[in-house]
């Protein structure tokens, strides 16, 4: 044992040096493909870079332009509107399902099969979902209008994706259709982590279902709720695929009809990859990031505070 301890010091140092070798590939790739692009975008956001030549330093000009660009704020507002309705439907549905499947009185069965079916739309590529719904919702020949008319629910075709008052919510609902299963699984996993003793004890004490929900489930789910809210906000403000592909006859960044489907990242994409105002697009990216950061901090404070 004593001999062992003498050797340990130098051996341990050698051993820990091996760890550098283990993390080396990660660190190198991480620096090149994650850290550098983020810093490069930051640098470009202060320049007039157009995708070629040398970037010319502009200071804060791009940011001043973003803050007063009413089309950026329109796109930002569109994103919030689409995301807001989406998250209410998506989390609302997921919550209802969680309450139902964790109810100790009804003891609903079949959770694995329902959960699998509800999760299925998540696996399909956004592009495929976008095309599927674009075709199903086609106002003239789409199956949805045909079904509604033959069921007598409506007498005229509804222009799902062409009406400025309907189209944003259609995107929200398609998004909710895709993602509610994911929220449900995450919330359900959280509830299953709560001991059923709490619920049974509360039931014996005469607490109703809703009291149990608000006094036990919600407080204990707080960390997961926080996680879900922040990831959904980060994901929601990045909304791109669905509206990009579903708007107008051929998709694109215009967000037809009338720009109501133009989201913030579509706006960024337009400057970054279509009109090649790379510097300006970088400033849009950082402005969005700062907004996400502020809202995340507020969410942390609000949901994370002790009662």
């Amino acid at each position: 044992m004593a001999k062992n301890q003498v050797m340990t010091k130098s051996k341990q140092r050698n051993r820990n040096n091996v760890a550098y070798l283990f993390v080396l590939p990660f660190v190198v790739v991480f620096l090149i493909f994650s850290v550098y692009p983020v810093l490069r975008t930051l640098y470009l956001s202060f320049t007039s870079y157009k995708g070629f030549g040398d970037p010319v330093w502009l200071g804060l000009d791009n940011y001043k332009r973003v803050l007063t660009d009413k089309f950026f704020w329109r796109a930002f507002g569109n994103t919030l509107k689409i995301w807001g309705v989406n998250i209410i439907v998506q989390l609302g549905l997921a919550f209802l399902l969680t309450i139902l499947f964790s109810d100790i009185k009804y003891k609903m069965r079949g959770l694995p099969i329902f959960r699998a079916i509800y999760y299925l739309p998540n696996l399909i590529a956004c592009t495929s979902v976008a095309f599927l719904f674009k075709t199903l919702l086609d106002w003239k020949y789409g199956s949805v209008n045909q079904m509604l008319i033959s069921a007598g629910i409506t007498s005229t075709q509804i222009n799902w994706l062409g009406d400025v008052n309907i189209a944003p919510y259609v995107i929200s609902i398609v998004g909710a259709w895709m993602w509610f299963g994911n929220s449900f699984i995450v919330l359900m996993a959280g509830v299953q982590g709560i001991s059923t003793d709490y619920f049974e004890a509360a039931a014996i004490d005469g607490c109703g279902r809703w009291t149990r929900f608000f006094k036990i489930t919600i407080p204990l789910l707080k960390p997961i709720l926080l996680y879900t809210c922040i990831t959904s906000l980060i994901g929601g403000l990045q909304l791109f695929d669905l509206p990009y592909l579903m708007n107008g006859p051929q998709g694109g960044t215009a967000g037809q009809p009338n720009g109501v489907l133009q989201t913030a990242v579509m706006y960024l994409y337009k400057f970054g990859f279509e009109t090649r105002q790379t510097g300006y697009a970088s400033a849009i990216a950082y402005t969005l990031f700062i907004i996400i950061l502020i809202v995340s901090i507020i969410q942390f404070k609000w949901l994370g505070k002790e009662d």
Partner: protein, 278 residues
């Protein structure tokens, strides 16, 4: 408890769950039926009875795009990316969890920080970098970044800490095994359930990824499946035959539907695991 009212209520609840399940499946069913119908048939109304125009739709679709090529390209990206992500995330996570070395904390903190950063923040810098390195239309920028996957490293680090006993590694060292050999022969096999969980997620993410290949790939020969599907938007001759569009979507969806039948249990446990990070 087993009163009539209770049974009726329970029945209604099951009915609602089934309706919701049907709403999840109906679009896929309509897709499959419509892909067998001709453009003219689709304009006349909907039905649940398949028709006989699958072959025509197929020919018309493949005149425009070769979706199997897209599928092959997607595999060419997603398989190596998943393997790299699984292997390098495990070795990184193991080193961060089990070794004391300078910079360990720093790497971990930066790693967590980057889990919070939205992808659009690096999009322009990333494209700019690929241009400088001459990697536009190459799969390298779609595959190599998988070596550094912050979310996976974070998860696997927790996993190692929870499942691996340091005494086991100590025993192997006393037997004279080298550090890398210990990782390959002892640590990695123990980590496999965790790695598999994360790899399924990584594969799906890579397979479905749209924005990054969209900006990087403009050569039709190289396009991955989602990018190829998105080009259907510009196919004006196809727009007159919705049957062909449905078929295109169906071909992209069916492999996922089939694999889901086999892997749904693992996929769902991977989501649950991701959610309980706290």
């Amino acid at each position: 408890m087993n009163t009539v009212g209770y049974k009726i209520k329970k029945g209604i609840l099951y009915l609602l769950l089934i309706i919701l399940a049907l709403l999840c499946l109906l679009p896929f069913l309509l897709m499959m039926i419509n892909s067998t119908r001709s453009g003219v048939e689709i304009t006349t109304g909907f039905t649940f009875i398949p028709s006989s125009h699958l072959k025509e739709n197929w020919e018309q679709l493949f005149k425009f795009v070769n979706l199997f090529r897209g599928m092959g390209n997607s595999l060419l990206v997603a398989v190596p990316a998943t393997i790299l992500c699984g292997y390098f995330s495990s070795i990184t996570a193991y080193a961060l969890a089990m070794y004391k070395f300078k910079g360990n904390k720093l790497i971990f903190i930066v790693n967590v920080l980057f889990m919070m950063i939205p992808a659009q923040l690096s999009l322009i810098g990333f494209y700019n970098l690929c241009m400088t390195l001459g990697l536009v239309n190459s799969y390298i920028p779609l595959i190599i970044p998988a070596v550094a996957a912050p979310g996976t490293v974070f998860f696997l680090r927790q996993y190692v800490q929870a499942t691996l006993s340091p005494a086991l590694i100590e025993a192997a060292r006393i037997d004279g095994a080298g550090e890398l050999r210990i990782f390959h022969k002892i640590v990695f096999p123990i980590m496999i359930p965790g790695v598999a969980t994360m790899s399924i997620g990584a594969f799906i993410g890579n397979w479905n990824n749209y924005l990054t290949p969209l900006i990087l790939l403009n050569n039709p020969e190289k396009m991955t499946l989602p990018v190829m599907i998105s080009t259907l938007n510009a196919a004006t001759d196809l727009q007159s035959n919705q049957g062909a569009i449905y078929l295109g979507v169906a071909i992209s969806v069916i492999p996922i539907l089939i694999s889901f039948c086999f892997f749904s249990k693992y996929i769902i446990s991977s989501i649950s695991a991701g959610g309980v990070k706290e």
